[in-house]
């Protein structure tokens, strides 16, 4: 078994209203940022997991995202990165 860090992005589907993103976008000109056309706010979820290999780690992360992290009515997800981590932290952070 090896340890992997996986980054999953969960984002609102196109067409679903994003009041938080819109609020950021509206605030930008007043702060002197002019060229920003649009902002969408989603979640970045970092999972640390054990798996025999990278493809398995990716599949697990995708399953977690599909089952739990994203609500299919409003959201899509994408695994953005999978990286191998050094093994066995002596007294790992407990969730």
């Amino acid at each position: 078994m090896s340890r992997f860090g996986v980054l999953v992005e969960v984002r609102l589907r196109p067409g679903i209203a994003d009041p938080a993103g819109s609020t950021v976008a509206r605030a930008l000109p007043a702060l002197g940022f002019d060229g920003v056309e649009g902002v969408r706010l989603g979640k970045a979820v970092r999972l640390t997991l054990e798996a025999p290999d990278e493809p398995t780690a990716r599949r697990t992360a995708e399953a977690v995202a599909a089952r739990l992290l994203a609500n299919a009515v409003m959201e899509d997800y994408e695994v953005l990165a999978v990286e191998a981590l050094p093994n066995a932290p002596e007294e790992g952070p407990r969730p």
Partner: protein, 736 residues
């Protein structure tokens, strides 16, 4: 100066003399862990070393008081086998560093103070003081504070039913967030944080321990902020994140453990973390505690024993349990998904003194060995040099404030209007189904009931009040006026005042003017409470509220609880109905010292109006009986900040009904903030008059309601529609 060139005790916030005293208490030099434990326990925040001496002057007992100051919360008997627990705290410095999390963890802490007594939290209040909203930083402060309270209080399931929202220049760099909680308990469930029975187990409940808020009480809460905005940045690692879901489970588990009588003692972990909870619990019970620091569940690897012992990680409680009950405790905790870890046991006192020992693993090396009472009770106690401010007695007698034309007077009043709904609509103020009068009125009124405590007809009224303008003007008299206002608010809600808690927010006590303010505030509080037979059952002192050497104005906040023997659904509110009479109960007055009106005219002189407790008590009694008389009053509001003018404006706005007010000689009578006066709106003026006369309370006719203006001929002419816009928009304009 970098901290590694400092002697350790100074880096930890102890003075050289205090370090000497630690050595004296131990009879040997402390090791670094012991020094760290003393530094947090002897901090201003935990030890009250600058205020203890003064607080002794407060009246704290009364026939109904079951627990006075000193425990986690005060407890008062309210009959029917029930008691009410109440507590107020400041969370000023953490909220200045991170408003959302600071306010949220303040709520978490005050809830634990109340449920640790065996009480189910019923309601929260949140007095807030921030800088001018023109300043984006103050807007960020206020927005974040309200979000934090909203996120935590709503999720944990306790309604926020009142508070205060003051915006003034003095708080721009040092804001104030006070939090208050009221709970109810069957009297026999009352639990104290008193360890007993050598051999009993010490169990840590709740969240894992991380490097949160290390030194929060000594370095953050017991020192002021630097001059530069952002110069507090190096304190930032102290930020703690609140977890209301953990708190909710912890609360349910603790209340069930107490209900099933599975515990010997229970104590929350707040400032100074495990060191505080363990030393206070042991000291109160006259026993010792051995703690195995390795048994404490950690959130992060590599934490040192000192970090574990002083961490302020949130959502943790310390329980003492007999070994035979451990399995039952575990079962309750498992069901609520609350982690429970045995981390130590109670030990017998040695030569009459319980010792708090920190062990490295079971039976391992002794890392610290300190008399519990030395930590908890024997901190130094200071009488700081005090001196009244060298303020020249201003010549600008407010008696000579030039009169304004009615339109200008209306504009002035409109500029004071701010509907706090922007804040309280972000709070769930209806949870538990108890809220009869929610935020926005004089006092919040609640049913005295809770899950497991069926309603028997009684109610509670509560109001929290502060006024830095009065208290800067004259801290002693100003504080008496606050007690007058809070009791009057409660009586307007139909409550007979039964007790008071206070939070004294002041500047740096090492400044003689601040030390003087502290003395004066305590004197004023003691004087007023004594005169009203109102026991002070708890409080909190927050010092070092300064930024860049500038102290805040003295900001005592007092909160009064009142009891209603029976509740009616149609309690009179702050509002007018058309076609009714307006009466003033209480002696007409016209002193302007310390008023908003005088301040607006640049007059800062003159004495504050005096408080007459005898007349005030008569008024309180009268109000309580009038409010409970069905159909007698249609509306009412006390006169305080902003005087009769603001009281009338708020009454008119709330009901959308105007009035024509006569019989006031001049604008002094309209704008005086003198205490012990209430405006009532009634369609039974003769009956009200008769009751007032029988009670020996002066009563005068103010005029009649109706129309769409608040008109005081020759003195004030306020158009309700535009005033309504100003009132509703005052906060959203800046914050939405």
């Amino acid at each position: 100066m970098s901290s590694d060139t400092l002697p350790l005790h100074r880096a930890l916030g102890l003075t050289d003399d205090e370090a000497q005293a630690v050595e004296g208490a131990l009879g040997r030099p402390p090791n670094p862990l012991e020094l760290a434990m003393f530094s947090v326990m002897w901090s201003e925040h935990c030890s009250y070393k600058s205020s203890r001496l003064h607080l002794r002057r407060l009246p704290t007992s009364g026939p109904a008081v079951l627990v006075g100051p000193g425990e986690n919360a005060g407890v008062v008997d309210v009959g029917d086998g029930l008691a009410v627990a109440v507590r107020i705290e400041s969370h000023n410095h953490p909220s200045a560093v991170e408003p959302t999390q600071g306010a949220a963890t303040g709520i978490g802490g005050i809830l634990r103070d109340v449920f640790t007594m065996g009480a189910r939290p019923l309601a929260l209040l949140d007095p807030i003081y921030v800088g001018p909203l023109e300043d984006p930083r103050s807007r960020w402060h206020l927005d974040g504070i309200v979000r934090g309270i909203s996120a935590y209080g709503n999720a944990v399931g306790v309604p926020t039913v009142g508070g205060e929202l003051v915006s003034a220049p003095g708080y721009a760099r040092n804001l104030l967030v006070n939090v208050m909680c009221i709970g109810v308990l069957p009297t026999e469930r009352l639990a104290l944080a008193r360890a007993e029975g050598p051999g009993n187990l010490v169990v840590l409940l709740g969240a894992a321990t991380g490097r949160d808020g290390i030194g929060g009480v000594s370095v953050l809460a017991s020192a002021g902020f630097a001059a530069e905005p952002g110069a507090g940045d190096e304190k930032r690692p102290s930020v703690q994140v609140g977890d209301p879901y953990e708190e909710k489970r912890l609360m349910e588990a603790c209340l069930e453990l107490l209900e099933r009588r599975l515990l010997v003692a229970l104590c929350d972990l707040g400032g100074a973390g495990l060191t505080c909870a363990a030393s206070e619990t042991a000291a109160r019970g006259g026993v010792g505690i051995d703690l195995d620091v390795r048994a404490v569940p950690r959130r992060e690897p590599g934490m040192t024993p000192a970090e574990v012992m002083t961490s302020e990680s949130q959502e943790r409680m310390l329980a003492v349990v007999e070994p035979a009950r451990l399995a039952d405790l575990q079962e309750v905790c498992d069901r609520w998904e609350v982690r429970a870890s045995v981390i130590g046991r109670v030990t017998p006192p040695v030569e009459g003194r319980g010792r708090l020992r920190v062990l490295d693993g079971p039976g391992g090396a002794v890392l610290a060995d300190v008399p519990a009472a030395a930590l908890a009770d024997e901190a130094p106690c200071y009488r700081r040099p005090a001196r009244p401010p060298a303020r020249p007695r201003p010549e600008d007698d407010p008696g000579e404030v030039p009169a304004l034309d009615p339109g200008a007077a209306a504009a002035l009043v409109a500029s004071w209007l701010a509907d706090p709904a922007w804040a309280y609509q972000q709070y769930d103020h209806q949870l538990l189904g108890n809220t009869v009068v929610g935020p926005g009125g004089d006092a919040a009124v609640l049913r005295l009931a809770a899950p497991g405590v069926p309603w028997r007809g009684k109610g509670l009224a509560v109001s929290a009040d502060g006024n830095p303008r009065w208290c800067a003007h004259d801290p002693r008299v100003g504080t008496t006026l606050l007690v007058a206002e809070a009791t009057l608010n409660v009586a307007c809600g139909g409550g007979r005042p039964i007790c008071l808690v206070n939070c004294l927010n002041l500047g740096n006590p090492e400044h003689p003017e601040v030390a003087w303010q502290l003395e004066q505030v305590v004197d004023g509080l003691a004087e007023a409470c004594r005169a009203l037979d109102l026991p002070v059952v708890g409080g909190n002192v927050s010092l070092y509220n300064e930024a860049g050497g500038q102290d805040i104005d003295p900001t005592p906040v007092v909160a009064v609880l009142g009891l209603l023997d029976r509740l009616r659904p149609d309690l009179p509110r702050v509002r007018l109905v058309p076609g009714a009479r307006l009466l003033l109960l209480g002696r007409p007055r016209d002193e302007l010292g310390g008023s908003r009106f005088a301040q607006a005219a640049g007059r800062s002189g003159g004495p504050l109006p005096a408080f007459d407790p005898v007349a005030h008590r008569r008024l309180l009694d009268l109000l309580v009986s009038l409010v409970h008389e069905p159909g007698l009053l249609d509306g009412l509001h006390d006169v305080a900040d902003g005087g009769l003018a603001l009281a009338l404006a708020e009454l008119a706005l709330a009901g959308g009904v105007g009035a024509v007010v006569r019989g006031l000689p001049d604008q002094r009578a309209l704008f005086s903030e003198a205490p012990s006066r209430v405006v009532v709106c009634t369609r039974e003026p003769a009956a009200v008059r008769a009751a007032a006369e029988a009670a020996g309370v002066p009563v005068s006719d103010l005029g009649e309601t109706g129309g769409d203006r608040l008109l005081v001929p020759g003195l004030l002419d306020l158009d309700l529609e535009s005033a309504h816009r100003a009132w509703r928009g005052a906060l959203p304009r800046w914050l939405d």
